[in-house]
């Protein structure tokens, strides 16, 4: 709970959390918040500018842009969060297995991770989409398949650090079962690390998935998705550049909110980071995390 206390002191973090929570709620209850049906075509309102009824105006088919943005939260943010959760879960299970039990299991899992990580993530995602076919579901599957290895690797490092500590050794010596040690003593302490790691990749994941939709590989028309909306706007970019504005800003706001939150989480969990002059030397694990975290940001 120290996390929340520290976070609430940070104004930017508070704003970010608010933005994220509001986005998620609006996305979950999209039919309730959206003023119109996002797919309702109304040719008489093509390219209409904003009005009281259509706050953000209408697109090339006269559809309500605001409603499309609200419905777009689901594929652009909510499904990304689900995919992230699943890959972190897989990564956590394997990370705990290899970090706690070490030995052959560890060696095997890490070799598999090495192989997975030797593929550039973006290319791998493209390849999987190429094979399974286009569609949001397939992109999310591709993401889970690509990302788990990296999470497993990082979570393993974190688990290893803690399982070397005296109190864990003591619990082992006093005959407490492995499962109980993991559940009672390791999960709570590594949880904060896992939170930082996963929050740091949300931003780039949102950007990438919207990028795939922008290319026409993700969600298919007429469904609303932010990258998809930008793709539609691109076709009339030279005559109606203003259509690019709303979906683009939506992405920028949500991604910056997640990025700010992840930075704030890092500081909240380790207040030493606030003042780098006192920061102890941190070697490889953190640097590799940093490099790969933004591995394929765009």
């Amino acid at each position: 709970m120290r996390i929340f206390k520290n976070l609430s002191k940070d104004k930017l973090a508070t704003i970010s959390v608010t933005v994220i929570v509001v986005t998620i709620i609006v996305g979950l209850f999209a039919p309730f918040f959206a003023p119109h049906d996002p797919n309702q075509v109304n040719m008489s309102l093509r390219y209409a500018s904003s009005s009281w009824e259509y706050l953000l105006g209408n697109d090339h088919l006269g559809r309500c842009i605001l409603s499309r943005i609200i419905y777009g939260i689901r594929p652009s943010v909510l499904w990304v969060l689900v995919a992230l959760f699943i890959s972190v879960l897989i990564g956590a299970v394997l990370g705990f297995l290899s970090g706690y039990f070490r030995g052959k299991v560890d060696a095997f899992i890490m070799r598999v991770c090495d192989i997975m990580l030797s593929f550039p993530g973006y290319v791998m995602t493209l390849a999987i989409v190429g094979i399974l076919g286009v569609g949001l579901g397939n992109i999310l599957i591709a993401f889970i398949l690509v990302k788990w290895a990296w999470f497993a690797r990082v979570i393993r490092t974190s688990v290893m650090q803690y399982s070397e500590l005296e109190y864990v050794k003591f619990s082992k010596a006093s005959g407490i079962s492995d499962l109980k040690i993991i559940y009672k003593h390791l999960v709570p302490v590594t949880f904060s690390d896992i939170a930082v790691i996963s929050s740091s990749s949300i931003g780039s994941m949102i950007l990438q998935i919207s990028g795939f939709s922008f290319l026409g590989l993700g969600i298919q028309a007429p469904n609303a998705e932010w990258g998809m909306m930008l793709n539609e706007a691109r076709e009339v970019m030279f005559t109606r550049p203003e259509l690019m504005l709303a979906p683009g800003l939506a992405i920028v706001i949500v991604v910056s909110a997640f990025n700010f939150l992840s930075d704030a989480l890092q500081v909240a969990l380790d207040p030493k980071l606030l003042n780098s002059k006192k920061r102890p030397q941190q070697k490889s694990p953190t640097t590799t995390v940093k490099i790969q975290k933004k591995e394929v940001a765009h």
Binding site: V123, G248, N259
Partner: protein
């Protein structure tokens, strides 16, 4: 050092083999029958079982898996990736020039990114906590949160359409490079300059800096020492950055109609042209492994401590 290089190279060979196997398996996992895809791609109106069987024989798909993999691997090593399902042209004749174009774009962008990140990283580290540092980091924060394709579209609109300064797309002269390179630099420099900055700052707190200062070395000389040490981290980062950029210019290439790998692969995915996808993944994964190996070797050359890790 020689032993390190040999060991390192030998490690990457099995890795390459596994990668090639995975690539091959991946394509064979497709829910669609390749023979059917070929026929569909060639626009055959009526696909009968007989035709499928015939195509299978033509493509050698009736052979056992291992044999096919082996044949494919040997052919790939000779840059023979088969023929495109759609156009029927050899894959290499399509992917070769595209790879070159993407590589040119990546190379120019990487040089700009490396120069910019080192420059900004060093300035921000030396002025840590001051206005320059804070504003550069603040701006980079928002720039990295922007979708690169959005940024690209805005730039095309302002620079190319409104003021007509640069070409909107294609790859005709040096002018065509400017916009894509700027967009790629903005997306990546913001990330990498942070790495340079962090590694500079952590070096600033090392004992050797204190010792240098205590001995009365001029500040300039100390900075040179710090720079040398922090560049080590930077080199390993950039070694990995180049293949990453190579693999992720897809979106940028599509916007600027750059005739590179990105445009080719997206087209291939949309038309399910498996041989092109296969070759694309294999080539980029191989480049990725190659760059990792080279950057590890360069690192070991600069830092003897790492040499014993292998």
């Amino acid at each position: 050092m020689g032993r390190y290089i040999i060991n390192r190279v030998f490690i990457s060979i099995p890795l390459l083999l596994i990668i090639s196997l995975l690539t091959f398996v991946l394509i064979n996992l497709s829910p669609l029958d390749p023979a059917e895809v070929v026929l569909q791609a060639q626009g055959v109106p009526k696909i009968t079982d007989e035709l499928i069987a015939q195509t299978k024989e033509e493509l050698g798909m009736d052979q056992p898996f291992i044999l096919r993999y082996f044949d494919w691997l040997v052919a790939s090593l000779q840059l023979d990736f088969g023929d495109s399902y759609v156009t029927g042209k050899p894959v290499w004749s399509l992917i070769g020039p595209a790879f070159l174009n993407t590589f040119k774009l990546t190379f120019v962008s990487s040089v700009v990114i490396i120069v910019m990140s080192i420059l900004l990283g060093v300035i921000c580290a030396l002025k840590e906590g001051k206005i320059v540092d804070k504003s550069v980091r603040g701006v980079s924060f928002f720039l990295t949160a922007m979708p690169s394709y959005w940024l690209a579209s805005i730039m095309i609109w302002y620079v190319s359409v409104k003021f007509d300064l640069l070409p909107t797309s294609g790859m005709d002269s040096y002018k065509s490079y400017i916009l894509p390179v700027i967009v790629i630099t903005i997306s990546y420099a913001g990330i990498y300059f942070r790495n340079v900055r962090t590694s500079m700052i952590s070096n600033l707190n090392e004992d050797y800096v204190l010792y240098g200062r205590a001995c009365g070395l001029p500040e300039k000389k100390i900075t040179v020492h710090i720079l040398r040490n922090s560049l080590q981290v930077a080199i390993s980062i950039f070694g990995m950055a180049i293949p990453i950029i190579l693999g992720s210019t897809v979106v940028i290439e599509n916007i600027f109609a750059w005739p590179g790998l990105g445009s080719l692969s997206v087209k291939a995915i949309l038309s399910r042209d498996f041989p092109i996808i296969q070759a694309y993944v294999l080539i980029l994964a191989a480049v990725f492994v190659l760059f990792n190996t080279v950057s590890d070797i360069v690192n070991a050359a600069m830092n003897p401590k790492i040499r014993n890790d292998l």
